[in-house]
C-alpha cells in the first residue's frame, strides 16, 4: 500500500491557565478531545486509535496517567500509544498519529497532548537533582541562557531583541482566547524593566507554567472528504534527535534542528521557506529562541535572524508572522505545547484561527523541540483545495 495522505479535520484546546482547578486530568483531556471531535463532526466511536503525549509524569505525580484515562479518552477497546520525547512531545505525538494514517493502519486517529503541572510542582520536577551530578541548574532557563548569550555575542544583535519577541507574543496572545497570559496593560518598557532571572533572560522573556490539553483529529483522504470543516493536509513531517553534548556540537544551531528542517522542506517540496511558508508556529520558551530558530529553520541567514524580529517581519501583519497564537511564551502546558504549535499551524491554513488568523495563509510550519535542544519534531500543513 502506498503512503496515504493525512489531514487534520478537527482541533480542540482548553483554556490554558496556571491551575485548572475545575477539572481533574480526565476532565482536562476530555475537554480538548470533545472540542476536537465536535470540530471534526465525529463521535467517540468514529476514532480508531488514540495517541497521547506528555512530558515527565512527575509533573502530575501519576505514573503513565494514560492508564487511568482510558475511559475519559473513549479508548476502551482501542489501541493507545503514549509518547514521551521531552518538550517536543506534543509534536512527535502528532507525527506518530499521522504515521498511523499514512501507513494505512487506521483511518481516524485522535492525537492529544496535555500537562496538568499544577498537580505536582513543575519547578521541582524540572530541577530534580540528577544522581551524582552537581545541581546548580535552576531549571531550563539556567541551561538555555548560556547558549543564548553565545548567540547574542556571535550575532552582535541589539540587546533588546528578546524583549521585542516577548512583547510581540504577549500582544498576539490577546487575540487568542485560549492563551494563558492575557496582559492587555503590558507595555514594552515593562518587559524591558522586568527582573533578570538568568541574565540575559528576564522574567518577562520566560514562558509561564500552564495546565492544558490540545487535541487533533487526523484522518485519511476518504474521511477528510466527509469532514465538517475545512481540512489541513499534512504535507510532510520530520523528526531528528542528537546527543546533547559532544565535541564540535553547534549549541546555538543544533544539527538535529537544521537537518530536520532540511528534510522537512525536501519532503514538502519547499525550496524557499521564507517565501513559501505563510505563517510559523515555533517552539519559543525563551524569547531569544525566536531569532535563533528562524536561522536554523532557514528563514534567515546565520547571524541575521534577529533582523526579522527587529523589522517587524514576525509580527501579525508582517510578512512572516511567527506565533500569532502567542506561542509558548504565552501558554506552556509542557506536554501539550508542541501539539499546540502543530494545531495552530493547522488552524491557520484551515482559516479557523479567529482573531489571530493570518489572512490568506495557505502553508504553515508547526515546530517543537525538547531536551537539551536535542529533540526536534516539525510538520508542514497546507490548505485543502
Amino acid at each position: 500500500m502506498a503512503k496515504q495522505r493525512c489531514a487534520v479535520i478537527g482541533v480542540g484546546q482548553t483554556k490554558y491557565q496556571s491551575t485548572r482547578g475545575d477539572v481533574s486530568m480526565a476532565g482536562l483531556v476530555r475537554e480538548a478531545a470533545l472540542r476536537a471531535l465536535a470540530d471534526a463532526g465525529l463521535e467517540w466511536s468514529d476514532i480508531d486509535a488514540v495517541v497521547i503525549g506528555k512530558a515527565p509524569d512527575f509533573f502530575e505525580g501519576v505514573m503513565t496517567p494514560e492508564i487511568i484515562l482510558a475511559e475519559a479518552l473513549g479508548a476502551a477497546g482501542k489501541p493507545v500509544l503514549r509518547v514521551h520525547t521531552a518538550g517536543s512531545v506534543g509534536g512527535s505525538t502528532a507525527i506518530v498519529a499521522s504515521s498511523l494514517i499514512e501507513s494505512g493502519v487506521h483511518r481516524r486517529v485522535l492525537a492529544l497532548g496535555f500537562e496538568k503541572q499544577s498537580e505536582s510542582n513543575a519547578m521541582w520536577a524540572l530541577s530534580l537533582p540528577q544522581a551524582f551530578q552537581t545541581s546548580i541548574n535552576a531549571g531550563a532557563g539556567g541551561y538555555f541562557s548560556p547558549i543564548i548569550r553565545r548567540y547574542m555575542a556571535m550575532s552582535g544583535a541589539p540587546e533588546l531583541v528578546g524583549c521585542v519577541v516577548a512583547f510581540k507574543d504577549r500582544q498576539h496572545a490577546l487575540k487568542n482566547p485560549y492563551a494563558h497570559l492575557h496582559q492587555p496593560e503590558l507595555t514594552f518598557e515593562e518587559v524591558v524593566e522586568s527582573p533578570m532571572l538568568w541574565d540575559p533572560i528576564r522574567y518577562s522573556e520566560t514562558c509561564p507554567s500552564s495546565d492544558g490539553a490540545c487535541a487533533i483529529v487526523l484522518a485519511d483522504e476518504r474521511a477528510a472528504a466527509d469532514a465538517l470543516n475545512p481540512v489541513a493536509w499534512v504535507d510532510a513531517t520530520a523528526m531528528r534527535s542528537e546527543a546533547n553534548n559532544f565535541g564540535g556540537r553547534n549549541m546555538v544551531n543544533p544539527a538535529a534542528s537544521s537537518l530536520c528542517a532540511q528534510d522537512l522542506y525536501a519532503k514538502a517540496g519547499i525550496t524557499n521557506p521564507r517565501e513559501e511558508i505563510d505563517v510559523a508556529e515555533i517552539y519559543v520558551p525563551f524569547s531569544w529562541y525566536e531569532p535563533m530558530w528562524l536561522e536554523s529553520l532557514g528563514f534567515a541567514e546565520r547571524g541575521q535572524g534577529w533582523r526579522l524580529v527587529e523589522d517587524g517581519v514576525t509580527r501579525l501583519g508582517g510578512d512572516l508572522p511567527v506565533n500569532p497564537s502567542g506561542g509558548v511564551l504565552s501558554s506552556n502546558p509542557i506536554g501539550a505545547s508542541g501539539m499546540v504549535r502543530f494545531a495552530e499551524a493547522a488552524l491557520q491554513v484551515r482559516g479557523m484561527a479567529g482573531e489571530h488568523q493570518v489572512v490568506g495563509a495557505r502553508r504553515a510550519l508547526g515546530h517543537a523541540y525538547g531536551g537539551g535542544a536535542q529533540y526536534f519534531a516539525m510538520w508542514i500543513v497546507s490548505a485543502g483545495d
Binding site: T14, R35, I136, A138, G142, I148, N250
Partner: protein, 188 residues
C-alpha cells in the same frame, strides 16, 4: 464550538442527599519514593578519583573525543567506554549566565551567581559549573578558570569537591564561532 471558558461536560445532577454537600476539588496525596541509584562503571571511577582531587574523562574509541564527566558510553561511538583519561583542573568559560533565581535545596548558593559551561584543557565538551571570585559583570566568554577545591578533610566521592571555578588571570581564550571545542573525528 464551545467558547474557551464554557464547560463542555454536561452538568451533573446530584441526588437530594448530596445537594448541600461541598464537592471535593483537590485530593492531596503526599508520596515518597526512595531510589538507590548506581553511578555506573565510568562514573564510579570518576567519583572515586574526585576524592583524590583528580578529574577523569572518557575517550571515544572511534573519534578520540574526550567527554567529562564520563557517562559510560560515548555518543560519538555508541560503545561502552574502556579508556578513561586524566584531565587537569583548569579550563575556560565557553559561555555563562548570571542566575538570580534560587534553586530548591541549594540555599547555600548566594544570589546572584554565575553558572558557566566550563571546558577543561584536553576535553572535547563542557559541563555546568559555578564561577566565583569575580564580580558577575566581569565574567566573559573565554575567561580562563581553575578549580577551587574543598579542604582535604571535606573531600568525598562527589563532584561537589569542587566548590567553584575561579579566574586564573591568564589571557582569555578567543571564541569566534557558535561551535564548541573539538571537531568530530579530531582529538583535541
Amino acid at each position: 464550538m464551545t467558547a474557551p471558558l464554557d464547560p463542555v461536560a454536561p452538568p451533573i445532577t446530584l441526588p437530594p442527599s448530596l445537594r448541600d454537600v461541598e464537592p471535593v476539588q483537590r485530593v492531596r496525596t503526599p508520596f515518597r519514593l526512595d531510589y538507590e541509584v548506581s553511578a555506573g562503571r565510568s562514573m564510579a571511577a570518576y567519583l572515586r578519583a574526585m576524592k583524590e582531587k583528580r578529574i577523569l574523562g572518557e575517550r571515544c574509541p572511534v573519534t578520540g573525543q574526550v567527554f567529562v564527566p564520563p557517562r559510560g558510553v560515548t555518543p560519538t561511538s555508541g560503545l561502552v567506554t574502556t579508556e578513561l583519561v586524566e584531565l587537569p583542573d583548569r579550563g575556560y568559560v565557553e559561555s555563562f549566565c548570571v542566575t538570580r533565581v534560587p534553586i530548591p535545596g541549594r540555599d547555600d548558593l548566594q544570589l546572584p551567581y554565575v553558572s558557566a559551561w566550563i571546558v577543561l584543557d584536553g576535553a572535547s565538551v563542557g559541563f555546568l559549573g559555578l564561577v566565583a571570585d569575580i564580580p558577575p559583570e566581569e565574567v566573559r566568554l573565554g575567561l580562563r578558570v581553575q578549580a577551587v577545591w574543598r579542604p582535604d578533610d571535606e573531600l568525598g566521592e562527589t563532584a561537589d569537591n569542587i566548590k567553584y571555578w575561579a579566574p586564573t588571570g591568564e589571557p582569555d581564550v578567543e571564541i569566534t564561532s557558535y561551535e564548541y571545542v573539538g571537531q568530530p573525528g579530531e582529538a583535541p
